[in-house]
């Protein structure tokens, strides 16, 4: 009985962790999509879809829902992420070759501006749920941006060296 309970707790905990990670990826990707939309004036319909998903997932995190329902939404979200991602890259790869350098600059600027968007838009993270390791969302979201920023700068550096 006790062991079962313990197992249950572990599963609950793992699920919660996964939720938090996915939620974070979701938020970052959401910002990314808005950026590309604002830049190119394309993908508007995807943006709207993302926003709806985002809200749906957020709400579902606040209440305890069934595992299947949960993973259904996650699957849906991930599919949409993969789909839009594929389309974005396809779009870029069909660009003429001479625009590559300019594109490199744009990509670098985009990578460097993402932390600004993610951190200066305070209402995005000004709430206490979901909690991770006892940290309210407000706190762990900002902590999580530190390694993400490092990786983004590194990616920008790589882009710069390529072009």
């Amino acid at each position: 009985m006790l062991i079962e309970n313990h197992e249950d707790q572990t599963r609950c905990f793992l699920q919660r962790m996964a939720d938090c990670v996915i939620y974070f990826i979701e938020v970052i990707y959401f910002i990314y999509v808005i950026f590309t939309t604002a830049k190119g004036g394309i993908h508007l319909e995807i943006n709207c879809a993302m926003q709806q998903n985002h809200c749906a997932l957020h709400n579902s995190l606040n209440e305890i829902t069934e595992l299947f329902f949960h993973s259904g939404i996650k699957y849906f979200t991930f599919t949409s992420i993969m789909l839009t991602r594929g389309r974005t890259f396809q779009k870029h790869s069909t660009r003429p070759h001479q625009k590559n350098k300019k594109y490199g600059h744009m990509k670098k600027a985009l990578l460097l501006l993402l932390p600004f968007a993610g951190l200066l838009w305070v209402p995005l993270y000004n709430h206490s749920n979901p909690v991770l390791f006892g940290f309210p969302f407000f706190y762990w979201y900002q902590f999580a941006w530190v390694p993400v920023t490092s990786v983004l700068i590194w990616a920008a550096w790589k882009t710069e060296r390529q072009s």
Binding site: F116, V122, H127, F143, V146, T149, S150, A156, W157
Partner: protein
């Protein structure tokens, strides 16, 4: 009611040993540095460049420790938790600020470094003079830097004084100790002293902070319980939000303006310009955010103090009191030494940066003597000491806020000047005067608060005063630039500039 804990002799002993050892190591850096590097010291550097910029040869590691050491000052260790202690989540704006500063560094500083290396410049004002050919603009930038950094050094002295007072000494003695140790350390070691002892500082701070973030939650029953009990001591916020509605704009704009201002200060710029190559700076932009994690943990100390039941009226005593309450006294002494050394390193870099400004830019004739630089650095420290003695600590903090507004006004000349837009020096000077005057005026009218209420088109919020003044500065600068271009018409000189830009 004050819950003041007094330490015993063990704490004082550990503090003295650690602090003295660091000062000795830093002051004698000339004697033992040759053993570390087998390379002969590059001979083409003048002694002045060696003292003031470390010979421009710091690699990735030394730069990491040096910039991290003087950007995250002891004042940070004391003031950020103090702000979190008194305002809750709002004090956390230090975290977004120290994150978004790195993309900014990555985009801007390698270019600035290249210009400085090619022209042999040591300060921001040098760069501006070379680019715009205006002595007035050079003086404006140099004076802004000097005025902004003086109260900052004063705050480091206050940081050292705070921990010595927490050890139970009172009166003028703590301040005197702080001043003499700082003076000896900088005079003898130059920039090599903080660069190499920054390593000691970081290791000590890391140990202290990691111990705190592990031990305190164990005492209090986990982070969840810690956040929960801290929330009971702080003002309530509606429905699951952390910041109340009115603090959102100040939070974002303060983070942004601090991030823009952070690397315009003479001390941080000195650390950047002393790097070996532009790639060293890029590499550091990737790895320096590691310090931000530590800063975030330090900020949490403010919440932990609430949870641990620390009640104090002077918020700068929050961290020392927390350390005394939760650690055995010898370890509290070690943590205090970490904070004191953490003040020594940045204060020394600040004094060197300010001395560079005085020697290169403010004095009329370009003087190149180390003794002169040392004297200038000493003078700066005496000025800082004066700030502490004659103005009270509260005023030093306000002055530092004004310093942030002032230093931000050099942004157009230094950073916008990097863009391929030719701005005339006269336009930049006008913008600088307008921005500085309006910024200081707004600060003064608001009773020395960092934010100013703005109402525009049915939308009202408080915005960082520095950012507001910078906006006015930029607007004036660009308007003047347009006006000057129109007034001059298509004179040969402007045409030449335009062609140069297009290429």
């Amino acid at each position: 009611m004050n819950t003041t804990t007094l330490p015993d002799n063990a704490a004082i002993g550990v503090f003295i040993v650690c602090f003295l050892a660091t000062i000795l190591l830093g002051s004698t850096v000339r004697l033992w540095r040759p053993f570390l590097s087998r390379r002969k010291a590059a001979s083409h550097h003048t002694e002045g460049e060696e003292w003031g910029l470390g010979g421009r040869e710091f690699g990735a590691w030394v730069t990491w420790f040096l910039v991290g050491g003087d950007f995250y000052t002891a004042y940070t260790v004391i003031a950020v938790p103090a702000l979190v202690y008194s305002t809750g989540g709002f004090g956390f704006f230090a975290l977004p600020y120290t994150i978004i500063v790195y993309p900014f560094i990555f985009a801007v500083m390698p270019k600035l470094w290249t210009i400085a290396r090619d022209g042999g410049h040591a300060t921001a004002a040098d760069i501006v003079r070379a680019r715009f050919g205006s002595r007035t603009l050079e003086l404006a930038v140099a004076l802004s830097g000097l005025i902004a950094v003086l109260p900052y050094i004063a705050l480091q002295l206050i940081g050292i004084r705070t921990v010595i007072e927490a050890l139970g000494f009172t009166g003028m003695l703590p301040l005197l100790i702080a001043f003499v140790s700082l003076a000896a350390y900088t005079w003898l070691g130059g920039l090599h002293a903080p660069a190499l002892t920054a390593f000691i500082k970081d290791v000590m701070i890391y140990i202290a902070v990691l111990a705190a973030v592990i031990i305190v939650p164990i005492h209090l029953g986990g982070y969840g319980a810690m956040f929960h009990s801290a929330a009971q001591h702080l003002p309530d916020t509606p429905d699951g939000h952390i910041l109340p509605q009115g603090q959102i704009m100040p939070y974002a704009t303060l983070a942004l303006s601090s991030a823009f201002a952070a690397f315009l200060y003479p001390h941080t710029l000195t650390g950047i310009l002393a790097a070996k190559s532009a790639d060293t700076i890029r590499q550091n932009a990737v790895f320096l955010p590691a310090y931000t994690i530590v800063l975030g943990l330090i900020a949490l100390l403010g919440l932990m103090a609430h949870a641990a039941g620390i009640v104090t009226t002077s918020s700068s005593q929050v961290v020392p009191q927390l350390f005394l309450a939760i650690f055995p006294s010898w370890f509290a002494g070690f943590c205090f030494a970490a904070i004191a050394v953490g003040a020594l390193v940045p204060a020394s870099v600040m004094a060197i940066g300010a001395a560079n400004l005085i020697m290169h830019n403010i004095l009329p004739r370009r003087a190149e003597s180390v003794t002169g630089s040392r004297l200038a650095g000493f003078g700066v420290k005496v000025g800082a000491l004066g700030c502490v003695v004659f103005l009270n600590a509260k005023f030093a903090i306000d002055l530092q806020l004004l310093g942030g507004v002032i230093i931000l006004q050099t942004f157009p000349a230094l950073i916008v000047g990097l863009l391929p837009v030719r701005l005339p020096a006269r336009a930049l000077i006008t913008g600088w005067v307008a921005g500085s005057l309006i910024g200081l005026g707004l600060c003064w009218m608001d009773g020395l608060k960092p934010v100013h209420p703005v109402a525009f088109a049915g939308f009202s919020a408080s915005v960082s005063t520095g950012l507001l003044a910078l906006g006015i500065n930029l607007a004036v600068t660009f308007t003047m630039a347009m006006a000057i271009r129109l007034a001059l018409g298509a004179s040969p000189s402007t045409l030449q500039h335009r062609q140069g830009v297009q290429r």
